[in-house]
């Protein structure tokens, strides 16, 4: 186990690099999952209301809209409103125009409101429909001879009467693995790729330095034994990193994992294994830190965008997903989405995802062994010297 011991010594010497990367990515992972509510899929209309009329009638409308939608209190200046609409922190910005109550009493509906417009989003369509409905209802009641104050009350009550909506659940996938917590595991492939490759590859590259390799090639140790000891060293490091991330996951989960969460843990363990093998493969193929940074960033960020880590898989086009299928992260995210109930859970498909990930690990291992056998054989190295 000389190589294994040497690996651990080199790792210890490069511990600052590893600690910096793991610390930073741990911070990023926690920030990503902590802000799920702010950055996740929108489930209700978020709007701001600016009341320029300031009458009991306009206040009543603001109150009704507040009960129906998520009202965000923001500064009434054009720059703030533009930023909020552009970054989708709100979906609609309504202004109740001056003279609103007078027009309403006269049964008029034109020009009651203004709305800042950036693009025709879903939230704009919904909110505008509701505001128009409210104006139409008050106008209809007033036309029917009902006094304005009562018409406003009736219209408000009608608007707030909930319709009979049944949420169909075709599976029980998300019981022990809520979607909010699943965000932590969803972002994990990016974190694992970035943290493990950035921290482990420099150590592996030192182990593969020419002077060290010349000495090793002269020794009695077999190439496969050398590579397997390197894998073992890498595996110990990856296991430690994975356990740290699982520990943080348990803290965010609020205790020991239950039910489907264990499958998510298994999923992440398989992905960590793939990342470990990838790290050995990458380190065996390159020789400089700058190229390593390039590969880590392109692999980490690129696969995250096309496999559904940063953008949900349902939102990606079929062409993008067709490309994404070639990356293990795609199968990881697909299973994660099934486990938390974002997509329909099918046990056979879940098993397929796990098997494909295992297949990736095996295939990458074979390729790595082959590359290392070719690249680090004595004859090859001498020819390159």
């Amino acid at each position: 186990m000389q190589v294994f011991k040497a690996f651990l010594k080199v790792l210890k010497k490069n511990s600052i690099t590893a600690i910096v990367f793991i610390g930073v990515f741990l911070l990023v992972a926690v920030m990503m999952s902590a802000n799920k509510a702010d950055v996740g899929v929108t489930v209700e209309v978020r709007m701001s209301v600016f009341d320029e009329d300031g009458t009991p009638e306009s206040e009543k409308l603001t109150e009704v809209l507040g009960k129906k939608f998520d009202i965000k209190d923001i500064r009434n200046d054009r720059e703030t409103i533009t930023d909020m609409l552009y970054y989708e922190s709100i979906g609609y910005a309504l202004v109740i125009n001056k003279g609103y109550s007078e027009k309403l009493a006269a049964g008029e509906t034109d020009g009651l409101f203004s709305a800042y417009h950036l693009h025709s989003s879903y939230e704009e369509v919904i909110a505008e429909q509701v505001v128009n409905d409210y104006a139409a209802a008050v106008s209809a009641y007033v036309s029917a001879g009902i006094p304005l104050s009562e018409a406003i009350d009736y219209a408000g009550n009608d608007l707030l009467t909930e319709t009979d909506v049944t949420i169909e659940r075709f599976d029980e996938g998300s019981k022990d693995y809520p979607s909010d917590f699943a965000a932590y595991f969803r972002y994990l492939p990016y974190i694992l790729i970035s943290a493990i490759l950035s921290a482990l590859c420099p150590v592996l590259m030192i182990m593969d330095r020419k002077d060290l390799r010349y000495r090793t090639n002269c020794s009695s140790i077999r190439q496969n034994s050398y590579t397997l000891q390197i894998f073992a060293g890498g595996a110990v490091f990856v296991l430690a990193v994975w356990l740290i991330f699982m520990g943080v996951g348990m803290y965010l989960y609020g205790g020991m994992f239950r039910g489907n969460a264990w499958t998510a843990v298994l999923n992440s363990a398989l992905f960590a294994l793939i990342t470990a093998v990838t790290a050995v493969l990458v380190a065996s193929s390159i020789s400089t830190q700058n190229i390593l940074t390039l590969i880590v960033q392109v692999l980490g960020l690129g696969s995250s965008f096309i496999c559904g880590i940063f953008v949900p898989q349902y939102a990606l086009s079929s062409g993008v997903l067709a490309v994404g299928r070639f990356f293990p992260a795609y199968w990881y995210v697909k299973l994660n989405d099934m486990l938390c109930g974002d997509t329909l859970y099918k046990s056979d498909e879940a098993a397929v995802c796990l098997l494909i990930e295992l297949g990736y690990a095996a295939a990458l291992l074979m390729i790595t062994l082959l590359i290392r056998k070719l690249r680090y054989s004595g004859a090859y190295m001498m020819s390159k010297a």
């Binding site: 600052i16 690099t17 910096v20 930073v24 990023v28 920030m31 802000n35 702010d38 950055v39 489930v43 909020m84 970054y87 989708e88 922190s89 509906t109 020009g111 009651l112 203004s114 709305a115 800042y116 417009h117 025709s120 939230e123 919904i126 505001v131 128009n132 409905d133 104006a135 139409a136 209802a137 209809a140 007033v142 036309s143 029917a144 009902i146 009736y154 009608d158 608007l159 319709t163 009979d164 909506v165 049944t166 949420i167 169909e168 659940r169 075709f170 830190q289 700058n290 190229i291 940074t293 390039l294 392109v298 960020l301 690129g302 940063f310 953008v311 086009s317 062409g319 993008v320 329909l344």
Partner: protein
């Protein structure tokens, strides 16, 4: 002396092929990934598109069918309705072919599988339908048949109570911000070239650094030449990145390209200065400094929204001052301001001034920290 050093620094930097390749290949590779991933995403996720729905019309409700026919006509109808029996409709819902199932009856009811925006559109439609019949009923209760008739007539009138105020003439596709952040990241990763300056000038890191420390050339001249050469290399990388994104990927960066080029050049200097400063701190090994530089750059890019676009607004709400000093956020905000606030340049100028101040401050700090490092002190 400066010119002599500058030329040799430039030659050395160009010969550090992996560094230059990394700075050029990185935006090309990641930009291509972005282009593929975001193809059609804005139209699909942000802009409204017709919602697919199944209708189980067991009550054979002719008035509903009339409303449904009306709402499904036009260029971009609100709904795309398929009539089906209960079993078939639920199958469509289960397979995700429709976003919901509407059941007719005394009042409409709705079945959905989630609570996204498609479902919210369906809920609004069903509520609107039920809402109108309730208004007529209540008017009849209060004022008899005549009142109900008047209310029904009023409800047939088309209501357009909202006047839209357009906010910008720029490109409103908010996925462009990922490209702004990509350019920000390329600029921030210019810190690796900045770091290279300290590597070749610090005696305990490289043999070249050791020789330079012994040479009679004043350290300030040598550092200034290195820094200028790095600015130039980074400028070329930034210009190539913008050209690739604008002309090859054909991404509409949303404003005058010459100003985008100018912004990118300045952004590049921010990254180099940051790397120069980070490299000058302490006497850590090359690898430790590289890891700190990459981590800091990545963290700043994450906070400006490279991975998750809304992170910028999260910081705007929780730590607004941070976005004003985070170089990555300032860089991406400059492109954003150019695009969205094309008529009012005050925000853009504020960002440009911030970038210039950051560049000068980091460069001066780098000089101050490096010039004290004599061979003996390391």
């Amino acid at each position: 002396m400066f010119l002599h050093n500058f030329i040799y620094e430039l030659k050395t930097a160009i010969r550090t092929k992996d560094l230059v390749i990394w700075l050029i290949v990185f935006p090309i590779a990641l930009g291509a990934f972005f282009k593929v991933a975001f193809h059609g995403l804005y139209e699909k996720e942000t802009l409204f598109s017709t919602v697919d729905v199944a209708v189980v019309d067991e009550a054979d409700d002719s008035s509903f069918r009339a409303v449904a026919d009306n709402i499904t006509s036009g260029d971009e109808p609100l709904l795309n309705v398929s009539y089906a029996d209960r079993e078939k409709a639920m199958e469509l819902l289960k397979n995700g072919d429709v976003s919901g199932v509407i059941f007719t009856g005394n009042e409409l009811s709705l079945s959905v599988t989630g609570n996204g925006l498609d479902e919210e559109i369906l809920k609004t439609f069903v509520e609107q339908y039920n809402f109108r019949s309730r208004i007529i009923g209540k008017s009849a209760e209060c004022g008899g048949a005549e009142a109900a008739q008047k209310a029904a007539e009023a409800l047939t009138r088309e209501v357009t109570s909202v006047e839209r105020i357009p906010l910008t003439d720029g490109n409103t596709n908010n996925l462009i911000q990922y490209f702004y952040n990509l350019l920000g990241m390329v600029a921030m990763f210019g810190s690796t070239t900045g770091l290279h300056i300290t590597k070749v000038n610090q005696a305990n890191i490289s043999a070249l650094g050791a020789r330079k420390c012994c040479s009679p050339t004043p350290k300030s001249v040598s550092l200034a030449a290195s820094l200028t050469a790095s600015y130039l290399i980074q400028t070329v990388c930034m210009l190539l990145s913008v050209s690739f994104i604008a002309f090859i990927l054909r991404v509409d960066l949303g404003s005058s390209l010459s100003v985008v080029y100018f912004t990118s050049v300045l952004a590049g200097t921010v990254g180099v200065s940051l790397g120069f400063f980070l490299g000058s701190i302490g006497a850590l090994s090359e690898k430790a400094k590289e890891s700190i530089s990459v981590s800091v750059s990545l963290l700043l890019c994450f906070c400006s929204g490279l991975m998750i676009a809304n992170m910028r607004t999260v910081f705007d709400r929780k730590l607004p001052w941070f976005n004003r000093i985070n170089p990555a956020a300032v860089i991406s905000d400059s492109y954003y301001a150019l695009n969205i606030y094309s008529g009012d340049n005050s925000r853009y100028f504020r960002n440009i001034i911030t970038m210039a101040v950051i560049t000068v401050a980091f460069a001066l700090l780098g000089f101050a920290l490096t010039r004290r490092k004599k061979y003996a002190s390391l």
